[in-house]
């Protein structure tokens, strides 16, 4: 494996908000040279972990941007919120996390790009690999993880003081790499097009992002997330604050995004999970206060038609609690 071996003094410690971007080891998963052995290992992981029919569904067996979650537990202080999750997330596909409130699906999602640890006292253990690189390895800077694994939140959160255009470029502006002139225009158009928003906003790019509708704002946030060229886009109930029409637009967009990005979405909407996802992971908890656990995961078609665990069936049929 040619993964970067962290050796710099400036490497950020896990469990703290990012301090500095200088010197810390970067995740280079996207551009990583996956040798033969690595590909074979990835293939094995998928064949071993997931229904082989997935192989047919995927263009390439080890599509770039695939993730492997192993033994992951998430804590808030001493409270164990998610216990011991193991899950393979195929690249360039949509994976849906479903389950009742408090089952830890959002917490796990936030652990994937290390947003979890921004909350004081929050931490995660275990390993989450992106294309074979462990994002939780010592010396991996959470800042670089987040530029490879983007996130879209429940409530659209464009920067109110920025124009629509600057919102798209925000990830670059923030780190002092604002593109100028035609390079900026091209990037903005490409990302807004990719987010199915270009036609609606192309005449008012200078306006504030606040002037858009909720659904448009959410698509602006998606454009902003993909402008920094992540491998993975995490979405935390991206439609729960939106009306049905806007929801449909986002769902369509998620399917489309999965051609170029690995999409992981947390949703409370069963029908949505069924419509848009390739893989579904069902989380649950024994009772309030107990840690959430992964109950079962697999091809969405199987989870919805023939779940192996009774709890999954009850939840999907609406007989839960």
């Amino acid at each position: 494996m040619t993964a970067t071996v962290p050796n710099s003094i400036g490497a950020a410690q896990a469990g703290s908000p990012p301090k500095d971007r200088g010197g810390a080891a970067r995740v280079v998963a996207g551009g990583l040279d996956l040798g033969q052995t690595a590909s074979a290992a990835g293939l094995e992981a998928i064949v071993g972990g997931i229904d082989p029919r997935l192989l047919a569904a995927q263009a390439a067996p080890a599509a770039p941007g695939s993730m492997s979650i192993q033994n992951v537990s998430c804590y808030y202080g001493a409270h164990l919120a998610v216990a011991d999750v193991a899950l393979e997330i195929p690249g360039r596909a949509v994976t849906a996390f479903i389950g009742p409130s408090g089952c830890g699906k959002s917490t796990l999602l936030r652990a994937i790009n290390r947003m979890h640890e921004v909350i004081p006292g929050a931490r995660a253990t275990g390993s989450i690999k992106l294309d074979g690189v462990d994002l939780y390895e010592r010396g991996i800077d959470p800042v670089s993880v987040r530029s490879k694994v983007g996130m879209v939140f429940q409530k659209p959160n464009p920067f109110p003081a920025m124009s629509i255009k600057d919102n798209v470029l925000a990830g670059l502006i923030i780190r002092g790499a604002r593109p100028r002139g035609s390079a900026a225009d091209e990037l903005v158009e490409r990302c807004l097009n990719r987010a199915h928003l270009w036609e609606e906003v192309k005449d008012r790019l200078k306006k504030s992002g606040d002037s858009l509708s909720g659904g448009q704002q959410q698509r602006l946030c998606i454009a902003r997330a993909i402008a920094v060229q992540p491998d993975v886009v995490l979405m935390d109930e991206p439609c729960s604050a939106l009306d049905p029409i806007s929801t449909l637009a986002i769902e369509e967009l998620m399917r489309d995004l999965a051609r170029d990005y690995t999409v992981v979405v947390v949703t409370h909407n069963m029908a949505q999970a069924n419509r848009i996802s390739d893989i579904t992971a069902f989380f649950s908890l024994a009772s309030a206060g107990q840690p959430g656990r992964l109950v079962e995961s697999g091809l969405t078609a199987d989870i919805f038609s023939a779940p192996k665990v009774a709890a999954t069936r009850d939840y999907i049929d609406g007989r839960f609690g």
């Binding site: 500095d20 004081p120 502006i173 997330a225």
Partner: protein, 288 residues
Amino acid sequence: MKGAAIAVALVLVGVLVFLAVNGSPAFTAGEGELPAHAKNFLALAAPLAFGSLWVAVIALALAALPAVGVALAATIYAPAPRFGRFLGAVLDLLAAVPSVVFGLWGLMVLAPVMVPLYEWLHAHAGWLPFFSGEPSVTGRTVLTAGMVVAVMILPIMAAMCRESFALTPPALIEAAYALGATRWEMTRAAVLPVARSGIVAGGMLGLGRALGETMAVAMVLSATPDLISLNVISSENPSTIAAFIASTFPESTGSAVSALIGLGLVLFAISLVVSIAGRRIAKKGAAR
């Protein structure tokens, strides 16, 4: 509620009437009737108004960055909530120190310590109008007074900043982090733009306080009341309205007293303008 509001308004009007009625004889007074050998009221008031603004602006300039820094340390950069509370308590204590104590400290501790710095500034940056001319040997200069006042207005400014930083929508903090921002980059993208009006309002409040600061300035500054000078390290310094009133009042009678009251009216007007401007800016920011 309503009664209290009316009472406050009445007190304000009462003060204004008192200042206007008792100060008005001074507006027309001629040479010999005014303190500091002034020819007329304007000649008396202008240098002092300049001095007040000059010391206040210096104090504001010195306190602004530390105030923002301390507020950031207490909120965004606090390693634990307890640290933020501790810093807040320290600032509250600082705000509770009496003005006279700051004056004594400025006079006896800070002023002598600053003398070598002033000599250095004169030697290396003497081409700037602020540092030209012979530096003071006692250190009791406009800059020293500005420093003392800066320490005094730091708590209120930091508190205002802290309040507005704490109000940053968590969604924006998350948005910035999720784009791969470091903590400082997040602060610049999410915290500071939203808090801008709060920072400005804090600055205006600090400026208002600095304008009215009396004892510390009167004690520290070795003043020449009829002087207008940008030099901040000289032994010849403009005085401020508040300090001038405090130091001149005990030996004043008749028309000199009304001149001092007239000066009070001038200071009142300046403070009013500053606080109205601050309110405007804060409101404008909040409406956005």
